[in-house]
Every structure is written in C-alpha cells, then in structure tokens.
C-alpha cells in the first residue's frame, strides 16, 4: 500500500533521514523507534505529504491515511470535541458518510471518552485532547494510521485501554505506523520495528527477536 525507497532528508545540511527504505503492507503494525531528533516525525510528515524528501521515491496507493499528531492543540478550541471530529472526518473522507456520527459515538464508547464529546476543546486537559486526537485518526476507517507519540500526556489506565483497542478492536487489515521512543509501548502494539538510531535503519525487525 505504501513504499518508500531510498528516502533522504536534510535540514540545514544535517541529514535527518539517510537512505531509508520501507514497505508498508496491509495488516502491518510497524513501530518507528529512535531518540529525540532521529527523524521519526519527519518520516511521518514525508508520508503525509507535508514534507518533500531531498531524494528518494514514495509510491503510495490511493489509500486513506489517518494521523494522530503529537500536537494536542490541533483543534478548533471554540468548538466541541464532537464538532471538531465531525469537521475533520468530513474533510478527510473522500466520500460523504452518513454513519460518521454513530461511528464517532461507537469508538468513543470503546475508548471510554464519550463524556468528552460534548465539551468545548478549551475545557479539556492536554491528555483529554490527546485522546480526541487518537479518536480523530480512527473515525474514517483509514487503511493506514500514523501515530506520532500518541500516548504522550495520556494516563496509564487509558494507555492500556487504547492499546487493547488497537490490538483487539481495530480491523486487522488496517496498517499501523507507531512512532515512539518507548520500546515497551511499541512492542505492546506492533510486530515489527525500525530503529532510526541504528546504522542499518532500513532493516525491519520482528519485535520479539
């Protein structure tokens, strides 16, 4: 569904991503590991089309991509969480969907955040906003979901609930790219990983090797 070949990206002559190749297929659950500044978020931005690589090829099928950014304030603060979710789901969907509202309620129920939907965004804590971001990335049932440090600011109990949701409730054909610096968190959700700190960063390893 998505293939990156020999991607290189530099900022101010410093190579952040160096000759990275990666193939993402249906059902893949891939963790992108690496320390701060190792290029994890840059890689996601390249996949999303927010950033052009200096060199390399991106081969992307006509797929819907969901994105959970680490910017918890990426909402319209004067609107309710429900209004934000309805707006973003409308502009991310290629077709109009009548069931979107019931899908939002269904996912919110599963994630135990139904009580947040009617609140205005400025009334939510950072962790609660992050939960809404998590939900936003799911509502259009995208074929590929990119999570960028998705558990930042989220409490332990909710982390377990959300991990359980990803492992058991998510459609198995949906591919996941999970960006984090926390190996334990990544291995709990993914079955393969790439460590961007590794010299041979293009090698996809199995999580329990």
């Amino acid at each position: 569904m998505l293939a990156l070949s020999n991607i290189t990206k530099s900022f101010n002559k410093i190579k952040v991503i160096d000759d990275l190749s990666l193939q993402i297929k249906k059902c893949d659950r891939i963790a992108i590991l690496g320390s701060n500044g190792s290029g994890k978020s840059t890689l996601l931005k390249i996949i999303l089309g927010l950033l052009k690589p200096d060199s390399g090829l991106i081969n992307k099928e006509d797929i819907l991509i969901g994105y959970a950014s680490q910017n918890s304030r990426s909402f319209y603060m004067r609107l309710t969480a429900q209004d934000n979710l309805l707006f973003f789901s409308s502009i991310y969907a290629k077709r109009k969907s009548k069931i979107i509202e019931s899908r939002i309620n269904g996912y919110a129920d599963h994630l135990n955040i139904s009580n947040l939907l009617s609140k205005k965004m400025f009334d939510l804590s950072k962790g609660e906003m992050q939960k809404i971001i998590f939900l936003r990335s799911l509502i259009n049932d995208p074929e590929l979901i990119l999570f960028d440090e998705a558990f930042v600011n989220i409490d332990q109990k909710s982390k377990e609930l959300f991990s359980d949701f990803l492992n058991n409730k998510l459609n198995p054909t949906q591919a996941v790219l999970w960006v984090t610096h926390d190996k334990k968190e990544a291995f709990n959700i993914c079955n393969k990983y790439i460590d961007l700190n590794d010299d041979k960063s293009e090698i996809l390893r199995k999580c329990h090797e």
Binding site: T42, L50, Y67, R73, F75, R78, I91, A93, K94, K96
Partner: protein
C-alpha cells in the same frame, strides 16, 4: 466529498466559531456606530466643490468606506485565517486532507468572503437610507444591475490579492508586505475620502492599477452624476483585466509558497 459539500462544511465550522464570540460581535456594531458618527460630524466641515459639499460628503465618503471595507476584508481575511490556523495548530491538519492544498486554502476564503458581503449589505442599506432621506437621491434598476456586476468582479480581484498575501504568510510567517501596501494604496490612492483628481499626476496614473479605484469611481457616478456608460464599461474592463492578473499571480504565488513549505517543512510554523 464534492466541492459544494466541502464549502458547506468549512462555512458551518467558521460560522460556529465566529458566533461563539458574541460579545465581540456586539462590540463590532458599537464601533461601527461610533465610526459613522465621527464621519457624519466630520463631513459637516467639508466643502470640496459644488457637487461635494457638506450635505453630500457623508454619502461620498460612506461609499468609499463601504467598498474599502469590503475589499480589505476579503484580502486580509484569508491571511488572518491562515495565521490563526497555524498558531492553533490546525493548518497542518487541514493540509493533509486528500485534496490539493491550494483548494483547501481557497476553502478558507469562504467565510471571510461571506462576512465581507454581509458587511457590504449593511453599508448598502445605510447608503440607500442616507441617499433617500438626507440627500434625496434615488437609484434605478440599472444602477443595481451595475452594482451586481461590480461586486463579484471586485471580489475576484481581492481574492487574488488575498492569495498573494496568503502566499507571503505561508512563506514568511508574519512578514506580509501586501497587507500594508494594500491598505496604503486603498486609503491614499483609491479615492476613498477624496477624488483621485487631487493626487499628483504620477500618483493618479498609478491609481489606475488599483482595482478599488474603479469600483469607487463607478459607484459614486451612480450616486452623484448621470451614469456615464463610458466610465462604467471602461471601469468594468479594467476590473476584469485586473481580476485575471491578480488571480493568476495569486495562484502562482500560493503554489510557490506551498512547495517551499513542503521543502522546508514549515507548514506548522508561525
């Protein structure tokens, strides 16, 4: 989703945000009243010539201000939308939608243009009241037809200017010279408060390239003179040409700034 559905979605979102600031809307009406009162009393001091005297200057300036407000609201509206969107972190979220980023930027114009039209409507009602009750001028159907042609043309022109302004904001964050040039050109060279004939000849020549000058000139001719169709048709031709030029430059500039932001990864900067 098709374009109309997307326009509706953006419009409803922006409308909800706008009307959530209720006290601000009330203050806008108050400031509008204060501004008009100042203009009304100030106009009592003015005596340009036989046509523009203290009785008619209020209407003369009101027409200029109505058009200036309309055009400036459109051209600065999109810039403000992009700046707000970048500072609250939603700009990147909009750009990743599965549409051309330029189309998304154009969708951000929908509500500012609508609000500019609503404000213009308020001004037009006021102009009609002032014309009829204070100066005894009435308008014909032909006058309204000309106005209906002028509004979309000036709208297109200033959407073009707004796109150039948006391109600067995307590339240089707050560094947008267009907003300053546009305001200066509008208030100094376009004849908002005085006829362009009082300008130095080379400034009067430059004013021909400012779209709002033609809109003001035609609109005033409807109010104060017998309609000169030569002025009207020349003005409409100039406006059409300027619309094409500004929209073309606006599209090029926006495309350039989007590509630049993609290379540098600066969509989220502000």
């Amino acid at each position: 989703m098709n374009s109309l559905e997307l326009i509706k979605v953006f419009f409803q979102k922006d409308k909800k945000i706008y009307f959530s600031y209720r006290f601000n809307i009330f203050l806008l009406f108050v400031s509008f009243g204060i501004y008009l009162s100042i203009l009304y009393f100030f106009s009592k001091l003015v005596n340009f010539n036989d046509f523009i005297n203290q009785d008619t200057y209020f209407l003369y300036a009101l027409i200029g201000i109505a058009i200036a407000d309309f055009c400036l609201s459109i051209s600065s509206g999109i810039r403000n939308e992009i700046m707000t969107s970048r500072s609250n972190g939603t700009f990147e979220e909009l750009i990743i939608a599965p549409y051309n980023p330029l189309f998304i930027i154009l969708l951000m114009f929908v509500f500012p243009v609508f609000m500019a039209l609503i404000r213009l409507l308020f001004y037009l009602i006021l102009i009609l009241i002032v014309s009829y009750y204070l100066i005894d001028i009435s308008y014909t159907i032909k006058d309204f037809t000309i106005i209906l042609v002028l509004i979309p043309l000036s709208c297109l022109c200033y959407i073009g200017v707004g796109m150039i302004s948006a391109a600067f904001v995307i590339s240089f964050d707050r560094g947008d010279p267009i907003i300053y040039f546009n305001s200066a050109a509008t208030f100094i060279l376009s004849g908002v408060f005085y006829p362009t004939s009082v300008l130095w000849p080379f400034l009067e020549y430059i004013s021909r390239f400012i779209p709002i000058k033609h809109v003001i000139e035609i609109s005033r001719s409807l109010a104060f003179d017998a309609v000169d169709y030569n002025i009207v048709s020349n003005g409409i031709i100039s406006l059409s040409l300027l619309s094409l030029i500004f929209i073309f430059i606006g599209l090029l500039a926006c495309n350039f700034s989007i590509n630049r932001a993609k290379n540098l990864g600066t969509f989220g900067n502000y």
